[in-house]
Amino acid sequence: MQPIRDISFQDHLHPILIIAKYELIVSNFRYPLRILTRFISPILWVLPFLLFGKAVLGGTDSAVLYELTGIAHMPTFILVGTIITSISFNMLWLMSFAIRLESYRGTFESIYSCPVNKFTFFLGKLLASVAWSSIYIVGLLLLGVFVLDVQFVWSRLPDMLACVALLFLAMYGFGLVISGFLLVYKESHTIIHFLDGLISLIVPMAYPLAVLPLFMQKISLMMPMTRAVIASRDMLIMGESILHQGDHLAVLAAYIFIAIPLGYQFFKYMENKAKMKGVLHKY
């Protein structure tokens, strides 16, 4: 038998790809309704904000929004916010639910006893999340171009995508913390739905940060999603370069270099706690 320390890079990569394939293909084709929902959900996410905006504005341009942000076109403003939040939520669900869902599916014990590091397991989920999110980004951008007449500076799209890549990594630590928390406290649906609602409120997805009360603005600025939303708007709508987004990138980098190791340690701590309490496999 091959000693475990002789494992090559390819051997590390293999389980990541297998987990991503399982998440993307096997589990979705087993439950075909999920494929339908995956494609429709981002549209259902963005439309209510656009329709509500239309109802209060009677059109698409807002003088108040322009005064606060320098952007007058409401659909353009909202679309960027919803792109970032929809991929953040997708990742949050896939990562946080990574272990809990296995428990529901009855595959928890098999996966847990596999000689694969949990970090690798989560990387597989991250990869699946990146694939889904890429589809979301393309779909929402197409919606923007063909239906909403959005006004983007397309030359800044690569800058925005670089920012999204950083957001993925920043969210990884976030996902590890929540997943660890759910190992002990269960009730995953409730907690994640609640987080969805809370993040939707705090992150300036459909409105400028300035309309939030001051204490909420401060909390919001500590979130990686807020930084990614603001930076993406600056780049894709205002045409600024990624080099001018130093503040936002610094917060994202802090999440990557601090939250990932801390998140993994927290996950391991909660895993041990769940084992000690004997609740690892419980519902």
Partner: protein, 283 residues
Amino acid sequence: MYRMMSNWSRISLELRTIRYTLKKEIKLWQRYPSRMLFLVVMPFLTILTLYFQGMGLVGGTESTYFEEFAGTQDYLVFIILGSAVFIFVSTAIWGVGNSIRREQMMGTLESIWVVPTSKLTIFVGVALFDGLFSSYVAFMQLLITSLILPVNLIDLRIFVVIGIAFLLIFSLYGLGFFFTGLVLIYKEVEDFTNMINSAIRLITPVSYPLSVLPAPLAFIALFIPLTYALQAIRDYMGLGDYGPIYQYIGLLLLFDLIFIIFGSLFFRYAEKSAKRRGVIATH
């Protein structure tokens, strides 16, 4: 033995089943108290999100354009009432609609399935609990919003609002039976349920009037009883002129009948189909 009983004895037995189902649902909620907090707080987060969006777009809680569409300038009260009634929809779809899946996840489906009582009686118990629970949550929401936001919705008219919402819930339970049937056929329908929940919110006048919707979506809304319940409630509360209230009550009763019959028939079909394929207990 059941066949030899008198009609009254049978009814008494069915009522006892409903009482025990109600008791079981209460125990479950006591087991997971955070769900209660979630249901009370979550709709409030949605209202706040739209409140901030309105503030960011028009700088206040009133809009003259909104009056052109909805007959009232006050979009905040419009949304609060819509969200309070929508709680009944959410609870019915998630409660009755996913009750089978929930039992399956908890490992109690088989025990419940072999109990010598009609499945529909069990669902009536779940539905009754959902109705009472939704009324409580809707009342709490109106109370909290009146305390925190610049609106006052706490007066005796609330009881009429909840009364109209109760007329709505029978049709929602028909929808819930339909979902239960879907669960038997397709199994993991959490994502699908979430999608239908969002889709109903999108195409009915919960957060904005029907007139801002594209014509095909507004046409679909005419076949959803929530549309009429909301119009009746808003007309009664003086938020726009939607015509005589008794017309809406008649329509809601008609929808109740159609949805209950259709939902029950679909459930029976799905149950038979699942038994024939031997997939009742599979995940």
